[in-house]
């Protein structure tokens, strides 16, 4: 935007008024062009994200509804996603968290699948220094893997901890709503693989779609609405404990397992082993991943 203006200004330079010296005029012209360029480039309102959203002009806005009463915690979405998107070992684009509450006979176990919320106002997009994270007009937030430098700022900016460093691609990576499938008219693979049909995907601006009908007629909730990110993954039957459990420190997980396990009659050793094996497995998966990557780099093959 800046350059054409400057060109025009300098083209006008020979017609400088006689009162000004050539040097003075060029200086003034240059400054004006720079100033105008700066203002257009960095529109203050746009800069701060204060511009009003024109939702009327949009035809398509993808979103997802997850009915937590239908989720049985089988993790098939997580596995299907890993297969479809080639997600490296030790990382997930979507996962399912278990929340247990109460004790026999008054007890319950709930599951909450987590994935990228494809926010209308994504913080990851705002904080990306090279504009590698972008939002398509249909609302899907994507990473441009050729631009991404891997500064990891988006990973700490995301209030949902969705992003991760992909050790093979060496960039940030995240859920794409299976954009390659969506563009061909298919549903994301987590939706297709869901055995309880808990995940429903569609265009929320089309009043005929199932997603739009649910959002319009049933009590839905989003994760962390206070972050003002306008998430577009809506949860049906989301209850307080699901949210409250988000704030639990995982380091105390061992403690929880112990309490539960003791009631079940398990020994301390068994319990800690279960926990540690799980933890070590995750860590060794990651170490293996990076080792594999280095080997490929060195030898050129697996």
């Amino acid at each position: 935007m800046e350059e054409p203006k400057e060109c025009r200004r300098s083209a006008m330079a020979p017609e400088a008024p006689k009162g000004l010296s050539r040097k003075e005029f060029l200086k003034a012209a240059g400054l004006t062009a720079l100033g105008l360029g700066f203002v257009t480039l960095t529109n203050p309102a746009k800069l701060l994200g204060l511009t009003a959203k024109i939702s009327g002009s949009k035809k398509v806005r993808y979103g997802m509804v997850i009915d937590l009463k239908k989720c049985i915690g089988c993790n098939s979405c997580m596995i299907a996603c890993k297969q479809e998107n080639n997600v490296p070992l030790g990382f997930n684009r979507t996962w399912v968290k278990d929340v247990e509450r109460g004790s026999y006979p008054a007890a319950n176990r709930g599951f909450i699948p987590i994935l990228c919320n494809h926010c209308e106002n994504p913080i990851c997009n705002r904080n990306c220094p090279v504009q590698a994270t972008y939002q398509r007009p249909d609302g899907i937030v994507l990473v441009d893997y050729d631009r991404c430098i891997g500064c990891k700022y988006c990973m700490v900016s995301c209030p949902y901890n969705i992003r991760f460093p992909n050790p093979y691609r060496r960039t940030a990576d995240k859920c794409t709503f299976c954009v390659h499938r969506v563009d061909r008219g298919q549903k994301p693979v987590c939706v297709e693989s869901c055995v309880g049909k808990a995940r429903i995907f569609g265009n929320i601006l089309n009043p005929e779609s199932e997603v739009a009908k649910i959002i319009a007629s049933q009590p839905v909730h989003v994760l962390k609405p206070e972050q003002n990110t306008e998430p577009h993954v809506f949860y049906l039957h989301l209850d307080y404990f699901m949210l409250e459990a988000n704030k639990t420190d995982p380091k105390y997980m061992k403690h929880y397992r112990r309490n539960v396990g003791k009631e079940m009659g398990l020994t301390d050793a068994q319990l800690s082993e279960t926990y540690d094996i799980l933890k070590d497995k995750c860590e060794s998966d990651r170490a293996y991943n990076y080792k594999l990557k280095d080997n490929i780099n060195k030898t050129g093959s697996l």
Binding site: R101, P159, P165
Partner: protein, 308 residues
């Protein structure tokens, strides 16, 4: 909620920004503070600080040339750092950093050049330009953390202030140590003495007083920060618990607060001890270690609790 609900994660959680980033924050802080102290003499005309100001003027660009290296090696693809120079996003504090980290060292070098040439007018000009730049080059790192708004420990308006004041503390401490080393070890070295004139012992004591003032403000800001964490949302309370009772309690309470701030502050108030160069040096070392603790705790403790 401990008794009512238990959560089981089947997804591992990772801490993304670690020592490299904390050390980068540490270095920019030291650089900015050294520059500001050097302008005390060359811009604000406090003549007795001139000798110390020269050391500050050398430390500032030196440290700031090293600092971005830690940022670059922390990238997943270090060679792509060039993208930062032609792909801008003016809403991202990292882009502000690209601009500031380019302008500030250049300004520092020009400032140092004119100190070497002893050109008073030019020193004053570039010194004056440098003060806001120095504040910005460290203040923006506070915004990097503060604008990651999902993280309770970081997302506070106090963060840039906390960063700036701890920068002043660490910068002053480093200058005291360097001045003492110069006076004790290189007192008769002709090469050193050609550029760095003798620093009076009284000036070192005065730097000690300055350090005490900065520590007092830093203590106040740290106290306000933790105090507000306690009386805010549940996430904030968890963050406060991490610092005061959780895995970071030793680093925060002992390394940063007790040894890094309270002890040096008390010692610097004792009339005889604050005129003892050896004691001052030891306290400065403690302060430097303490501020490293602050940087590390702030960066790592923020990411410690999984957000989802």
């Amino acid at each position: 909620m401990d008794e009512l609900a238990r959560v089981f994660y089947n997804a591992p959680h990772e801490i993304y920004l670690e020592k490299n980033i904390a050390f980068y924050f540490y270095l920019t802080g030291v650089s900015a503070a050294s520059f500001i102290i050097s302008t005390l003499a060359y811009v604000f005309g406090v003549e007795r600080f001139k000798a110390v100001g020269r050391i500050g003027a050398v430390v500032a660009p030196l440290v700031l040339t090293v600092a971005p290296i830690f940022l670059i090696i922390d990238l997943l693809q270090p060679m792509r750092f060039v993208h930062l120079f032609y792909m801008f996003n003016f809403r991202s504090p990292v882009t502000w950093g690209t601009i500031l980290l380019t302008l500030y060292p250049i300004n520092c070098l020009v400032y140092l050049f004119f100190i070497y040439k002893d050109n008073k007018a030019k020193i004053k000009t570039f010194g004056s330009i440098g003060i806001p730049l120095a504040i910005a080059v460290h203040g923006y790192t506070g915004f990097i953390l503060a604008l990651a708004k999902g993280i309770a420990l970081w997302n506070t308006p106090l963060m840039p202030v906390y960063f700036l004041i701890s920068a002043m503390v660490s910068g002053t401490a480093l200058l005291i140590i360097l001045t003492v080393i110069k006076e004790k070890v290189f007192a008769n070295n002709a090469l050193v003495n050609r550029f760095f004139p003798k620093v009076e012992t009284e000036v070192i004591w005065e730097l000690g007083k300055l350090l005490a003032i900065f520590i007092a403000i830093d203590l106040f800001v740290a106290f306000s920060d933790v105090m507000l964490l306690f009386y805010s949302t549940p996430e904030n309370q968890i963050a406060a618990n991490l610092l005061l009772a959780g895995p970071f309690k030793n680093m925060f309470l002992i390394m940063e607060v007790a040894l890094g701030m309270v002890l040096p502050f008390i010692v610097l108030l004792v009339p005889r001890l604050n005129r003892n160069t050896a004691v001052l040096t030891v306290m400065s070392v403690l302060v430097l270690i303490g501020i490293w603790g602050m940087r590390y705790v702030t960066v790592v403790a923020g990411q410690y609790v999984p957000l989802m």
